[in-house]
Symmetry: C2
Subunit: 539 residues, 2 copies
Amino acid sequence: MSGAATFEGDPAPAGLTEAFWAYEAALMADDVGALDRLFAPGPETLRGDASGLLVGHDRIAAFRAARGGAPRRTITQVHVRRAADDAALVVAVTRNDAGGVGQQTQLWRRSAAGWQVAAAHVSHTPSGALDPSVWRVAGTPLVAGRPDGPLRGRSVAVKDLFAVAGHAIGAGVPSFLTGRTVEPAHAPAVQALLDAGASVVGIARTDELAYSVAGRNPHYGTPVNPAVPGGLPGGSSNGPATAVALGQADVGLATDTAGSIRVPASYQGLWGLRTTHGAVPRDGLVPLAPRYDTVGWLARDAATLLDVACVGLAGAPQRAGAGRLAVVDLWSAGLEEPVAAAFRDAVAALGPAGFDVDPVAVDVGDLGELYEAFRVTQAFEAWQQHGAWVEAHPGALGTEVAARFAAASRVTADEAAAADRAVTEACDRIEDRAAGRVLLLPSTSSPAPDAAAPSAVVEASRAATLRLTCVAGITGRPAVSAPVLTVDGAPVGLGLVGARDGDLATLALARQVAAALRPARREEATEETTSPRPERMGA
Amino acid sequence: MSGAATFEGDPAPAGLTEAFWAYEAALMADDVGALDRLFAPGPETLRGDASGLLVGHDRIAAFRAARGGAPRRTITQVHVRRAADDAALVVAVTRNDAGGVGQQTQLWRRSAAGWQVAAAHVSHTPSGALDPSVWRVAGTPLVAGRPDGPLRGRSVAVKDLFAVAGHAIGAGVPSFLTGRTVEPAHAPAVQALLDAGASVVGIARTDELAYSVAGRNPHYGTPVNPAVPGGLPGGSSNGPATAVALGQADVGLATDTAGSIRVPASYQGLWGLRTTHGAVPRDGLVPLAPRYDTVGWLARDAATLLDVACVGLAGAPQRAGAGRLAVVDLWSAGLEEPVAAAFRDAVAALGPAGFDVDPVAVDVGDLGELYEAFRVTQAFEAWQQHGAWVEAHPGALGTEVAARFAAASRVTADEAAAADRAVTEACDRIEDRAAGRVLLLPSTSSPAPDAAAPSAVVEASRAATLRLTCVAGITGRPAVSAPVLTVDGAPVGLGLVGARDGDLATLALARQVAAALRPARREEATEETTSPRPERMGA
C-alpha cells in the first residue's frame, strides 16, 4: 500500500514514501528484521515512547524483539516536512483498531543503505482507564481523607497488601484476590493517613505475596521505571513506587520485609523509609514474614516523606538524635565496582561537608552468611504464612515466586532454628559494633536491571542486593533509601540504617546528607542540560 | 541557560542551541508571544500531543493562549540530529517537577526569521492514575461480571447516573456526590450487563445532572475527542463516549433525554442507541426529565452495540421489521450547508444501494416549534426533579447548567401544560405522517464544536442540534446514531428514528445502511493514507 508523496514547489525526496509504507507494512507484520533494517544502524539512533527514550540501534532492536508486535492500526494522516534532499520528517496520525489515536514522528535520512529512520517518537492515547501494571483500582479519589490535617491535599497509593474498606486484598495474585472477601475497615496504617488529611488515590500493585524485589508481576505486568528506560521498577512495592515516580500519587504506603521499599526507591530515584520493626501497627495487612515485615512509605522528596512518617509513627516512641555516621565494611558484599565507587565518592564528600563520620568501618560480619540466615528464616515464616494456600492453589503463582515458595517448603524446623540462632547472634554482634551509629551502605547492589533480563540475572541481582538490605532486617533497625548516588546515569539509593526507634532522626539526617551531596549532582545535571552532549551524525 | 551544541564531525548549525533554550525559557515563563515567534508561521506548522495533532501556526497559537502554561519541568537529555545547515531535529527528554517524564521532538528550520520550529511532537507519562475528565473511579475491573455469557470479555463504562453497588452516584456535580450514600445494589441496567458476562471498568463522567449536550464539565474538565483534535466530546454522556472512543471500554452504558447518547456518538464517530422510551428499566438512575429519559449504549462498532442492545432489551417487546426509510423534511432545521450536503449525499446513495427510500420527505412540522415545546416540558420536569436541590446548593453548578435550571425555575404550570399539549399534538402528527417509516436525519447540526468555543457558540449549536434530536424525544421512538457522515474531515452521525419497540430492527437497518455507505468512505481513507496530501514547504 505505497503511494507517491508530492510536494508543491519541491520534488519529493525520491523513495521516501515507499520506505515509509514499507516500514508500516513491516510494523503490522511484526517483521523485526525489516524494521531493524529500516532503522539507521549505530549508537545514535533514537526511539522514544511513553516508557522512555532508547538510544542506539541495538537497544531499539532488543526492545522490538521483546515486544511481540505493535497494536493493529490505520494511518489516517501523513504530513511530510522536507529538510534536505536526503532528510525529511514524516509525521503520521494513527487510529488503533481497538480505539484511541496516536502520533508517530520520524526523521528519515538517506544514506548508501537507502532511506532509514534516524529518530522516531511514538505516542498514543492510553489504551486503558488505568495502567494495570501499576493500579488495581483508582479514583478521584478512591477514598477521601479528612478535609484538614498535616497531610491535606496529599494523595496516597496503597500497596495491595493493606485492607481498604470496601475492597478485598489482592496481594498481587488473581486467585488470592478472588478468594478474599471485601474488607470491612481500613488497616490502621491507611486510616492514620486518611485521618491526617491525605486521600487514597487507589490500590497499587505488588509482586506476588510481596515475595520478590524485582517488581515484575507475571499476572499484571511490569510497571515502568521513569528513571531508567527499560529498567525494572523494583519491588515488591512496584505499584506504589511507580505511581509516586509518575506523579500519580504523592505517597506510597508500602511494606518492607527484605527490601520491598528500599529497592524500588533505589531503582527509581525515590525516597523510601523502612520503619523500626514493630513501630507501625501491621493489623489489616497480609503478612509475608512477621519477624521482618515492616510498614513504610515512598515519596519523591524528603519533606513529604518526613511529614508522612511523623503521622505514621505518631504512636511509636522516637529517640532524638540519629547518632554518628559510620560506613558498613563491604568486604563481603561483592559489589560491582561502579556502585562501590559511587558509594565511596559520596562517603568521601561527607567529612568535608561537615558530617561526623566514624573513620572506622563497621564490620557487620560476612554479608553472605547474614543473608543466608535471613533468607532461611524468612522462607520458613513465609511458608508458615502462605504454604497451605500455595499448596491448595497449584499454578496460581508465576515461576519465580513459585520456585521461592517451593524452596521455602523444604526448610526444616531444625534448619530454621539454626538460622534463627544465627540471626540473633548477628543482630547482637551488629548492635554491639554499631551502637550509636547510623550505618551507611548502598541501598541496592546495582541500578535497576533491564526489565527484559533473564530470570538468572534478576535472581543474581536480588541475592546481591539482599546481602545489603538484610542488615536492617536482621537488626529490626529503620532504614532510609535516599536518592543520592548515580551509576551510569541511573539512580542508586544511599542507605542509612539508623538505631531502633530512630526513624525520624535517621530520616532527618538522610535529608541533610542528601542536601549536602546534591549541589554537586545538580551542577552536573545543569551542565548536561545546557550543553547537549556531542553527537556523531548517522551514516 | 543556553549553551553551545557541539557535534563531532559536523559544526553545529549556528544559533540552534540558543534558539532551543530560548524556547524552553519562554515555555517555562508561558511567554506566549515568544513561543508563537519561535514556531514557524503558516498553515503547515505542526504540533502534536496526546489530544491530537494541530496543523497550522494559528491553531497552535490558539491552543497555547488557552492552555495557561506548561507544567514545570527539567530537561534531562538533549539529542540533536542534523539534517542540513538550516534544519535539525532536537529531541529532549523532560522530567516534570510533579513527577513523570516526557519527550519533546522538534524539527527546527532556519529562515530569514531565524531558527523556528516547523514541527513538534510532545508526549508525557500520564500525570494521574486515571483521566479525571473521563473517569471518577475505575478498576481492572471495578466490578467483574459473570464468567460466561453473550457479553463475556466486554468492558463497560457506566455513566455516573446509574447505581453501582458500593459507590455513591455523583451525577457530574461534586456537592451532589458528597450528599449521596453508597448504593446497596446495581441498577437493573448495570446488573443486566454483568449477568451477561460484561465487566464494569468504571464509573464515567457526565455533564452536570445530564442537563447539557456539550460534554464539558466545569468541575472535572472536558474529555478529549479522539476523532476531532480540540473538539468537544459531546454530552451529557461524555465520559462513557470518550472511554469507548479511546478503547478504554467496549461499551458505554448511558442515558439519552434530549440527545445525550446521540450527540457524543455523532461528535466522536461512535455508534449510539437511544432506546424506545420506557423499554429499559430506569430504576437506580438519577432522572432528569422522566417523560423523555431513556437508557441506551455507545460502542465503536454496530456488532457490539447490537449484542449489548439484545441483552439490555431482553425484557422489552420488540417488533420485527424496521419499516421503510424516509427522510425528515429539514426545511425548518436551519442546518449548515456542509452538514445538509453530507446528509443529502448519503441519502442519495441509498436508493442505488438497494434501499427502499420513500421519495416523499416527512414533514414533522416546524422543528423550531417542536424544540420549544420539548425544551419547556423538559425544563419543567428537570426543575421538579432537581429544583429543590439546586436551590439548596447555591454555587454548586457551573454557569451554563445553573442558567438552564434558573430558566427552568421560571416555567409556569400553565406554560408547561401548553407545551405539554403541543408535544402531544406533535407526537400524534409525526406518528400519523411517519407511520411505518424509519426517519432519517443528521444526528447533530454540526461536527464537534471547538472545545475552546465561547458559551454562546456552544449554546447555539446545542439549540440547532436539539431541533433534530427532539423528534425522537417527542415521539418516544428509538434512535440510532450511525458514524456515516463526514464534514470537513470530522464525523457526523446519521440518525435513524425507528418505530417504537423497533429498537433492534432499526439498529440492524442502520448497520446495513452504514455497510452500504462505508466502502466509498473507506476508499477515500485509503487514498488519504497512501498518498500524503501535498505539503508546501515552510519559509
